[in-house]
């Protein structure tokens, strides 16, 4: 059997580990051969391929990024997109396609599989951890680790100067990175997109922290918003991968805090360093297992399915179901963590 593999959407540590898992098991145990598609759905759309065999996946496990490249090309929005993909797969004699990506990439895979008979298997990828149906996605642990290390560093500079330090982390729609890194980094305030924040409450926490002679750290997700009225963001344009550009909510918040509390406040926007570089051990483990199970789906001809983590098990779920709903932070969990605010 010949199997195609593609990676779509934003960069995420662990993509290469998935690819390696798929190819090692596919070649060694099932005797498959593989075709890599370049730059997400652009690859099968244009028939742009890359060699994908055992030597091609040597040494890629610890490397960030993706050897296949990525894009946000959506074939459903291209003229004759589906027909061109089917023709290219037929020409290349590809019998199954493994799509590794987030909501958009998998959404395409679901429709191709369910509506157009293109045999797809999905592997979930989102650094934001906001995909339903799986306990965790790979890349998230790496991002949380990087953010936590940064927050650890910000503590000492906050203490030395008795300043407020605002750290803006990724998370447009879900606050998982903010919540986990904020808790792990000992932040005094954590603000997430799921709950509009009360600026007076934030300032009260900050003031109480200073009264105890400590300098406060505020961790804010890029998508968090204040209660009354939207922040006028200085630049709201999305890039071609759908990432918000320097959104400014962190910087806006620092200025508001200065105005209201009279304390100096500074902002650090972690940005792209959260999504690059070598994956953590946890993410290498998870991504590798996702790869191994995805190729088992192919062997079982169990198409339209996505691999997912449940506890310590890797299971299969319908792709369509998995991408139907964003996984956001449960208010109860946010409340649980709230004991550390102030």
């Amino acid at each position: 059997m010949r199997v195609g593999v593609l990676t779509g959407g934003g960069d995420c540590p662990g993509l290469n580990a998935v690819i390696r898992g798929i190819v090692r098991k596919g070649v060694q145990e099932y005797g498959y051969d593989f075709v890599g598609f370049r730059d997400g759905w652009r690859g099968p759309l244009e028939g742009d391929t890359i060699r994908l065999d055992i030597p091609a996946v040597r040494g890629i496990l610890p490397r960030g990024g993706t050897i296949l490249g990525s894009s946000r090309t959506n074939p459903l929005k291209q003229e004759n997109g589906i027909r061109r993909i089917k023709e290219n797969l037929a020409k290349l004699e590809i019998e199954a396609l493994v799509a590794i990506g987030g909501e958009d990439t998998l959404g395409v895979a679901a429709r191709l599989s369910d509506e157009y008979g293109v045999p797809c298997v999905g592997v979930p990828k989102t650094i934001d951890n906001d995909l339903s149906a799986t306990d965790y996605t790979f890349g998230f642990d790496t991002a949380v680790g990087i953010a936590t290390e940064a927050i650890d560093r910000l503590h000492t500079t906050a203490e030395s100067h008795m300043r407020v330090l605002v750290c803006e982390v990724m998370g447009r729609h879900a606050g998982w990175i903010a919540l986990h890194s904020g808790l792990a980094g000992g932040a005094n305030v954590i603000l997430i997109p799921e709950q509009r924040f009360d600026l007076d409450q934030v300032c009260a926490w900050i003031t109480s922290r200073f009264k105890a002679s400590y300098a406060p750290i505020v961790v804010i997700a890029e998508g968090a918003m204040p209660k009354d009225g939207d922040v006028v963001l200085k630049d709201q344009s999305l890039d071609s991968f759908g990432h918000v550009r320097l959104s400014g909510v962190g910087e806006w918040l620092a200025k508001e805090i200065e105005k209201r509390t009279g304390k100096e406040a500074r902002t650090t926007v972690l940005g792209h360093i959260q999504r690059g570089g070598t994956p953590s051990a946890f993410d290498r483990w998870l991504a590798t297992r996702f790869g191994l199970h995805a190729i088992d789906c192919v062997r079982d001809r169990d198409f339209g399915k996505m691999v997912a983590l449940r506890g310590t098990d890797v299971v299969r779920v319908p792709i369509a179901e998995a991408t139907a709903k964003l996984k956001t932070v449960d208010p109860k969990l946010y409340e649980e963590v709230g004991v550390f605010f102030g």
Copy 2:
């Protein structure tokens, strides 16, 4: 209510995070006060206490070790041990005890709670991840991260000299650290206590790796054993914490490999660096949540219970049940990972 807290057994990153979680929530939300006991069960046995309030837990989240100290004192093996503990708890007006520890420490807590009416809540701690009833224990992720980073480094020295490098990691009875760090580090052979290894097979994997012009990395748990006959360990004594001292299985294996394959082989024994230092973000998150849920058990007077991770939820299970059986590596999981051997 006054609550006692103790930490028993070997060092483990995250202990301080648990203590902080218990105290912050207990004081702020429930108005409890706390007594810290020194050095595990020795504390309540001898009435040796330490101040444990909000200032005492400031800044301890990122710190390894335990501010309460630890020991392997077993009060069940001490004359009048239980009576002395009950007297000391009464004298100090302590109404509940949170015991953070592994199999031994929790085993005592289970019996104290179930048989002798001492109201105990347990928090599971084992760097080896071999405790049933919980998906993961804190400390494990940190240990796997340290071991993986070490294996990453060993690759380059193995490649430069075309040598075998054997890396011995922790795990007397369970191979979790070896399995996770070996997979994440791209090891070519992983040997665990759960499955006696075949030296011929190991040498075959090594030889095949060299044939492909790569240098092999072998990750071996300290408790792994060859199929035919036990390794004569050079020093089998246990220390007072029950850790095996430099066991020698890694060094023994390196010598056997040299003899049989004619290739140079070197050993690195990671030892105590796996259990010290700052916890990973994952372990800080898990340990903190365990602390928060343990004090909720106290509030609910739900004694004899232990907190545990199931998926992304923290649940409660009977301590006795949790410590009844060691959680070892499932043969199927070991087989799954075996695709990367050789």
Copy 3:
């Protein structure tokens, strides 16, 4: 003898290591006692002190920040500033003062010592490495290490998306951090304040890099400027420590690159994470030795001097001389590194 110690200016990893070195040697070998002054020159100005003995310096070696606090208070600009300092020193029976700080803090120490007879010894501190008379200052190696690790991470996200990534690092007047981290991180363009850059040249390097099928990384110091005309910075206000706030040169450059090359470009501003957290081994070594040698200056009553690194030796130089001139990047060194551009 009683000795006062203060830390002034911005946060810098290694400050605590200096303090520890001074106190350990002063107490143990010379029998001195110490008075810590809070928040730089504000301490002696207002007589605000903190206990500084052996127990106070335990465990602070690996900790970022400064246990003494810091400020940018300049006593020369305060009414009766010098008289008040002299009175407070007399009242506290302090016979010598060790001032740890940058250009400003040391400038005050030089004048106090040379013009007003206050016996001062200086220890140079600047994360920017721009102080003459010393090969390196502590904090610089840590900042370069953090920036290099960030650049390593940016490579993979640049490659996966074939984008330009602009990384803005610290350095208002000197490009040392940009030069060292840019070289160590394999950047394709490095821009420093010492040489105004030619936007056409930068775009030519970027285009040539893309032609070779690689994604370019641009490292730019916050103080770098284009050749023709100043960048209109969106916010040029200095904070009370004299740090430029989010200066925007990185973001400005990314937008210009997009306009001129048609390639997507993103900016990451590393900000305060460069100056916080645990010092590197190199900085702990250097800072500790600076502390040991500073207290030797006090013992020798060799006032008006600053400790400095020359090769592997710690030497003494007049403070006034050391702070007279900023140490900027030699054009020859910048040219040497230029072989890697494009």
Copy 4:
């Protein structure tokens, strides 16, 4: 001009950075072409070569190890060694040879250059930092950083259990790694090969540390020896790279400490993890500059010379002179650091 490059001796982070610096500048600025020799002097001896051009050095800067491989082959000890090398160089039309290595590798280069007219340039490499004529060698800073991080971790496990932890680091003849990492890691005793240690003194330091309620960390170089009589090492054989195999001085010391002080003591032998993996930013900077200056030596036909670091300058010295004498720790420096013992 065609230039040969080889790397000899033990693995060392930064080797690839040197190679990249040589090739990038040599090709781009001087128009040279390059031949890589495999496995140190074995390469020119047997004419075993590897392609070495711009694409071959892409992406190798952050990678540990050496893309050229290494060995300890000594052509002076081979039959007709020199004649064979000269013949192979002539056959390959190579006009200059850059040898990157330690004492042995450079010793050969010195004699080939000075006595046999083979035009050689040397680049010093030793993780142990024990080469005269240069302030630092690359690889050393990485090794010190790894050892310091390990010592940081050992502190918490020592404190939690109130045990002695002995950490054995590299350094057969010189104690540089022990001295720097021991100081940076806050060790309480540092033992180096340059000064035989007094076991009673060591035990006195340990006892005094326990009296102050702290647990001691001992850092010992693998080549350190007690005053009276040699330690009977359990395995003194050298490997083919001249590294001592698990020497046991650390383990021996831990047992002696237990016997004499009655305190538990444990040993960690860091071993090969000190010499593998990605180089620190400092080492990447130094190694790259060594490469750039080495190719300038070739251009100037300044043969028989070695590049060396003096302060912040890279200079040239005769290879023969540089390898004549081991650079050991100055007793004065050891005494300076001694203020932290006990």
